[in-house]
Amino acid sequence: MDLNAIAFWTFSTLAVLSAIYVVFGKNIVYTVLALISTLIMVSGLFFTLGAELVGALQILIYAVAIVVFYVLVISTVPEYKGKPVDGKYMLLSIPFGFILFLELAYVSLYGAWQSATGIFDEKVINEIGNAKAVGTLLFTKYLFPFEVASLILLVAMIGAIIIGRKKEDVHQEA
């Protein structure tokens, strides 16, 4: 058993265990901590796949920036008193989850055989590096979607400020 296999089994087991706590856990603060654990394990899986740039971005954006949003909102909304999990939907969710899993398995296994393969095989990646390959494609072929992504972030920032603002100033003026 080589190092890559050990890393895969460790990361995937911990990711699934943390995800189960994210779904069924009682305390919401522990739920967010389990989410951080899942995100870091998924980042480790990216590293075992050889995608270093995406793994580093996963830690920087997800496990730091997005989780901070959740912690801020949880600290302002008071503690949730009701039951965390609704029992009457539990039975309903099992067939839906099973159907979704079968569909995903069918589509992914049969789709991958019929796709065309690209030029970035292991030899090319070893020569120029993963970050350079991704960055070159991002800033040439996908340059316009990249700029649109920056516009989406700007709109989301303005929208979050306007939606989340307190309305007290408006009442004082009126």
Partner: protein, 101 residues
């Protein structure tokens, strides 16, 4: 690459199903949003795994865009949750039923 890519796809499907179960089962809006983050992550794993199978890097660029959309979604969604909490003083989906006839 010693691990076959099917293992990563199975893991991705498992996380996707767990996220769906979380969305169906949970009652607090914030935990429903957290479950959607789980589903987005499972898609990311599938993209990177297929990249390694098909010798391409375009999937990792889509992972980059998914990260952008996830950040925008978290900002807007949590802003909406704050607005809903200020109006209704509650985050339970069973009690937010103004649109129900």
């Amino acid at each position: 690459m010693s691990i076959p890519y099917e293992y990563y796809i199975v893991l991705s499907g498992l996380l996707m199903v767990l996220g769906l179960i979380g969305i169906i089962v949970r009652k607090n809006i914030i935990t429903i949003l957290i479950s959607t983050e789980l589903m987005l992550n499972s898609v990311n794993i599938a993209f990177v795994a297929f990249d390694m199978k098909l010798h391409d890097v375009a999937g990792q660029i889509f992972v980059f865009f998914i990260l952008t959309i996830a950040a925008a979604e978290a900002a807007i969604g949590l802003g909406l949750i704050m607005a809903i909490y200020r109006l209704k003083k509650d985050v339970d989906v069973e009690k937010l039923t103004e649109l129900k006839l």
